[in-house]
Point group: D3
Chain length 227, copies 6
């Protein structure tokens, strides 16, 4: 399935303005706006809490226990990118640490999504380079086999194409296809725009049952209250 | 097993004073005081560290991928309650987020225990609304099917009856039946009362072997020291 | 396999100076220096982030649900030791809490590595006693059966002999045999010594591809760039 | 939650005729007939394929690594019973083997459902005594601590009351409360009765789309066919 | 990512002759022939041992707990097809049983690959309709929401396009893109063709070390024999 | 910890007569006879049911995704041996298939215990070469890196020394140190010798409660019968 040993230098990135704007909406709102698809499996967790980023995907396919292609992908990073790393098999080795992070940051990367392990967690937190990974592991890797850069990959159960938009925060990682990024942003902002009003109502004690007019449909379905 | 589509409006809560007092004792001490039963499975983890609460359970049974009943249970919350949400099947979707938390807080809830997923983790932490869940997931849910409110549920392997006392902290979640809450509180306080003295002795270098008089029973069982 | 019911009082610890010095190098660098062996399985996680310790191993073999031998091992602790606890079967009960930690600290222990559960997480964090464990659980344990102290154990997949050096931080736990501790320290320091220079180069935008001269071997393996 | 150290000698069993009749309907049909509740978690698997049984539950609560109460429950077995064993914590030890099975069979038991481990698999298969368990393990257990017999238990996530009906086969294990056993049997037979006709139609090439009249509701929901 | 609510009626299937021929080569040989890519995650297991099939993929995307689209995909099956079912989230419910299998067989399907649960295992075995699934579960599903048919899906970590070739046996499930099916078949047959000779040599006692001439490269890497 | 790149040609095997005799006693009885230690983790499962073997261990340490050392270990096999393969990290690739099995059988091996994946399951079953593995996977491996042969290894959580006795059947895999093989055999036979009598008694309806005289100790611990 995967084309091995190739690096695509030219990819079409989603509009930077749209990609940048999705971070503040967060993965949950963006995921809703997309019709509840595109969320990476929930085993992908941030290595430290609090980061919230969005950006355009450059992709890399790794071989298990081998991080050579992370050096290859570094060259393809442009400011505003987020690296998305898939692996040809389940592997939790520590592919990525503070030296690579230094390089990625120098190229303008905003973070890394890796379906594998990560190490140097304390240093990465102190550098402020966020990583979402399937594991944390001190185990190092070798540099011996070829993968590919900027091919479509399956990362944690979801297809990611180079140039797609990535939104990642404490709730998880969402992939927005470049083609629907604008529509998704619009839908997400629409959702967000009336959240303040809803929040104020709920905070004042109004029930969602009333605010969303749920009582009638619930009754129709047969919900019974027993005193 | 489960009665579906019913909301019990009147439940008998454990005495508020007892329920309130268990928080400071912590889940580990309370669990010991109960004879080491009543602990939810250890996959139930706090979404942020440091919270320590106790309160009376209002229960809700959810259907997978559907959070409608969380709006129904909100109306049944009284100040001092902790919502305990079970699900008819294993599901990690993000049933609960900041809007529902706003509503729950407005009703006086002290936290949520959910055998499912949670989202808006950053906002919940900033609001100070603690949640213990089996997963964190940006995946939203629908509002289409009926569960029940305030029926007995099995949550993370443990039976919870409406009105039971819940004690939750970084060590996990313990359920104390309303009927034994007073006895449990007494036993837990008794355990706690002489912990200070024990701690001081151990800190001074006295060994548990001597303080608890373990040397003789260990020798009887055949423990051998080899120089 | 395991000798049960014995406590070895005299063990040969790795040189204290070497053992102490490995903490600052970190588990990832030490693991690399050993040829990428000796890392405990990645399910071993710190109960709170940020701790970084090294020291000499005193070992203890536990029976499931029984923490009696942790009191026995306490007496064998010397300043600079790290307790390594294995269990005869997979078990996540909360074997260890703040009272035992008080005792361990009084004896000079720097931490605990336990292939089992831990509790009193909040107190342990506040005391500054780091634990790496496979689970967090409020579930207490009994004192009924014999294990052993200072025998060789398999902890989270790795052999640990009494006196070996343990290095533990946010990235995991590494075991360094006493016999190779000096060589490992030398190799780790050598790795570390030129990291600063590498980091500066990468931060300035030099690519790992060039710094490590990867372009030629990658080309030889057939890596193709497509415009 | 659990009452420890008690054996209830007199329980009210579901009607034997109903209990016996559910085996042939199978766990999937019975589960449907109950409204899709009552299925034990899917980690409960038969130790050998092909068995299909139903009967009335006698329950037993075990302590981890201790099978003493299985000898106690043996005395409470009546012909037509199925033993349901829960455990106070997750444990995979081999609680049950061929000697206990010999005893259970002599008492008239039809099988064992155990949220723990089982051993002597080859002998059990040859004896024709079916077991559904969470694990297979040669690890033996001790006889040291009390549990209880014929109290309500939570087994693999589901409440089981003594006297409930158990239906178990290759698809899993379903619990039918004694009170609803007749209604469930009726509903299950109704489902089953027209399956033969459906099967014949489908085998002849009629599509479910037509047989169940799904085309119209699917179209209403917006399903589009693209040539 | 996924287009919901669409059914593609016309897909381009890999050549039937090639698709048919891969079964006898088996998943392991085909996987090798493809350069060790295309294997579904190993949690996909046959519901009974011994089946070995190949065929062309018709794909279906399911919603969790909802098997409606399996009725929709039935109409798109042609003789020689294997249905590949993905799900929008991790779900182990029993989507598929003997009635659907009857319909699929009537349409000419050779098997089902489903990243979800399966039930009626005993009947399916007796019918000879093989299924590879992530779980076995008696839990039934509803018919309420739309997925899609014959769109590209990610099934157990691997992209599957309608018309690709599927090879499945006791060792797992491999996906061969239609475009490379011929080349893969050729490579697989080449591997297979000299296996007989190799097997005879090995059976006669010739070592792989000699037959494959491994001694020299092993020595060059530094392998040492110690007497 | 592991010495890499070495093959120990001369190992001291446990007495063949003792090693051979343990098979018929089975892993459960042998495990009991050893004091309930030495059982590999329960994720190690036979690839087909019914095999029951014992023999002397030749050990091999593998690198993930690389089965080269299995060819090296083949040369060290003597009739009556069982190969025990550990791996430097968790890996489920299919290291072993029918060609290697042909070679192993030609050398006189009785089976393979591998903390990794296995493939060609159908062929292995038909050849009658039993394997206990952590996974079944069609994924092939490469031949590129050195491990070791006949060094002590940790396999599925248990230390195995070359020459130890392995007992494996449907219940799991037990390791008996060569030094205690005779004593273990004696203890296991003693256990076994009176099993027939016990079985007859239990089959006749005598309860374990009476046969083992459990009533008094249970009563002393406080067990209460309630009518």
């Amino acid at each position: 399935m995967y084309e091995l040993g190739v690096v695509y230098r030219h990819i079409t990135r989603a509009d930077a303005h749209i990609a940048d704007g999705l971070a503040k909406l967060g993965s949950a709102t963006v995921h809703e706006a997309m019709g509840r698809v595109g969320l990476l499996k929930t085993y992908m967790r941030p290595i430290y809490p609090g980061a919230q980023v969005s950006g355009t995907a450059v992709t890399v396919l790794l071989q298990p226990g081998d991080n050579w292609m992370l050096h290859v992908v570094a060259e393809q990073i442009q400011p505003g990118d987020i690296v998305v790393a898939a692996c040809t098999t389940d592997n939790t080795d520590g592919f990525f640490g503070d030296l690579l992070a230094t390089s990625f940051m120098a190229r303008g990367a905003r973070g890394l999504i890796i379906d594998g392990g990560c190490r140097d967690v304390r240093e990465l937190k102190s550098m402020g380079f966020p990583v979402w990974s399937r594991a944390i592991s001190a185990k190092g890797t070798i540099k011996a086999t070829l993968g590919s850069v900027n091919i479509p990959v399956v990362c944690a159960g979801i297809n990611v194409n180079p140039g797609d938009v990535i939104v990642a925060d404490d709730d998880g990682v969402v992939v927005v296809p470049a083609a629907t990024a604008q529509a998704t942003a619009d839908a997400a902002e629409a959702r967000e725009s009336n959240e303040g009003e809803k929040r104020a109502k709920l905070a004042s004690g109004v029930l969602g049952l009333d605010m969303y007019k749920f009582r009638e449909p619930l009754e129709k379905l047969g919900l019974k209250y027993i005193d």
